[in-house]
């Protein structure tokens, strides 16, 4: 989102929300990554940045890319994910001129706080209801990713009703934003599910959301027949 979408008071308010969220994320990430965090979180942020660069063809010459909030939350834990996505947004704004500097607070609030935390909450609730097996993590992550995108769009519509710069009726902004982002959410869900499934298949020990399932798994000893 560029500068000039929301008025200055709303931008400052979302900036304060983003700063508070980042402070919580810095403390939470320390717990999730078990100690010093900078190298790990930095590399995860780099991964998110690279993942957003990869284009997924939709057909007819168009393509989309991942937002990655729910994906990062499932892989490294929600607070580390908030930290990493926020760092990506800050770097994009300051060094790549992508996303306005006065819109940075709004972008962090929507993409990193709402996107990650909604995606994580949905995934977490689903995993609590489903059997503790690593196989259910990818579908749960896909549903979390799907719901996180239109939710963030809905929050944007609410912010626009509060501090938008054009007299667009709230109902039509909400319908247009949520409707369009349901489509984007389907793509996000598919990519998130596929990526999580591919990692759970080879290195489930690296997936944060797989920790309870791995802890519940009994130790198996197999011997080859002579």
């Amino acid at each position: 989102m560029p500068d000039g979408f929301l008025n200055a008071p709303t931008s400052l308010a979302t900036g304060a929300v983003a700063a508070a969220g980042l402070a919580l994320a810095l403390r939470g990430a320390r717990r999730e990554l078990d100690g010093p965090t900078a190298p790990m979180a930095g590399l995860v942020a780099t991964f998110v940045f690279a993942a957003q660069m990869l284009n997924f063809p939709v057909g007819a010459g168009t393509s989309g890319h991942l937002l990655g909030g729910a994906l990062a939350a499932v892989l490294v834990g929600p607070w580390t994910a908030v930290l990493c996505l926020s760092v990506v947004l800050i770097v994009q704004s300051l060094l790549f001129a992508d996303g306005g500097i006065t819109a940075l607070g709004t972008n962090i609030t929507l993409i990193s706080l709402v996107g990650v935390l909604v995606g994580w909450a949905v995934t977490r609730v689903l995993l609590a209801m489903l059997p503790k097996r690593v196989g259910v993590i990818a579908p749960a992550a896909a549903i979390g990713a799907f719901l996180s995108v239109p939710t963030a769009a809905g929050v944007f519509a609410a912010l626009y009703a509060l501090g938008g710069t054009a007299p667009l009726p709230f109902g039509s902004v909400l319908t247009a934003m949520v409707g369009w982002h349901v489509v984007i959410g389907l793509g996000e869900a598919a990519i998130t599910g596929l990526v999580v499934a591919s990692i759970v298949g080879v290195r489930p020990d690296l997936v944060y959301a797989a920790r309870p399932a791995l802890a519940a798994r009994p130790l198996q000893l197999a011997t080859a027949p002579r």
């Binding site: 900078a38 590399l43 991964f47 660069m53 060094l95 790549f96 054009a166 591919s198």
Partner: protein, 218 residues
């Protein structure tokens, strides 16, 4: 495997703008853009003044305009949104070239294009004149929490390493005759991303252990 100096948007030359302390440039950018956003949309001469000030800074910086202007394409998706505003907004209708549109919507759409473009131009000026390591020390001087700046530092340090890794993986699948054309091919791309995550995570662990063995504590 040394990381290159600079980054994709940096334009290397010597000028007072390049030499200026990064924390002052960040403060100037934030202050300038707050002024732009706060300016009522009907004050068109003020926006002309902002543009003139920006162009002056760009000319002092020695970054050619033909370097800056093509890089403004990042804002194109939002121009589409701004173009729709006159048709979707409420309020009194006016006719422009025989097409009915909302007057406040037209004003807001125009203002969004002006403010958004000024924002992109100002951000590009910062990005073109500031090296990543200068920006990091600038943010430290602005009392951005050290833990946050450290994460940014590691991200920037390994940005080219990881994106190159992704590029090599794409070359590997391309050279085996793969070409992604439709959602049927997403599984292959997603597997690449999965492998990229595992490699990035393991690289993070190696970097962390290497730093611990050299006495890093934080």
């Amino acid at each position: 495997m040394g990381a290159p100096h600079g980054h994709r948007l940096h334009f290397h030359t010597h000028s007072p703008v390049h030499a200026m302390a990064a924390h002052l440039k960040v403060l100037a950018l934030v202050g300038f853009m707050l002024c732009v956003v706060l300016t009522p949309r009907t004050w068109l001469p003020a926006f002309a003044g902002y543009l003139a000030a920006l162009l002056l800074v760009i000319s002092v910086s020695g970054v050619p305009l033909r370097y800056v202007v093509p890089r403004m394409v990042v804002e194109v998706p939002f121009l589409a949104f701004a173009a729709l505003m006159p048709f979707l907004s409420a309020g009194p209708r006016i006719e422009v070239l025989g097409v009915a549109m909302s007057r406040p919507g037209l004003e807001a759409g125009t203002a969004l294009v002006i403010k958004g473009s000024l924002g992109v131009l100002a951000s590009l000026t910062l990005a073109a004149t500031t090296e990543p390591h200068e920006l990091l020390s600038g943010l430290r001087r602005l009392r951005v929490p050290a833990a946050l700046v450290d994460v940014m530092a590691f991200m920037l340090r390994y940005l080219d390493v990881v994106t190159d890794e992704l590029r090599r993986m794409r070359i590997a699948v391309d050279s085996r005759g793969f070409s992604a054309r439709s959602p049927r091919h997403w599984a292959v791309l997603a597997t690449s991303l999965g492998a990229l995550f595992v490699r990035s995570y393991e690289r993070g662990e190696r970097v962390h252990r290497a730093m611990l063995s050299r006495g890093y504590e934080r």
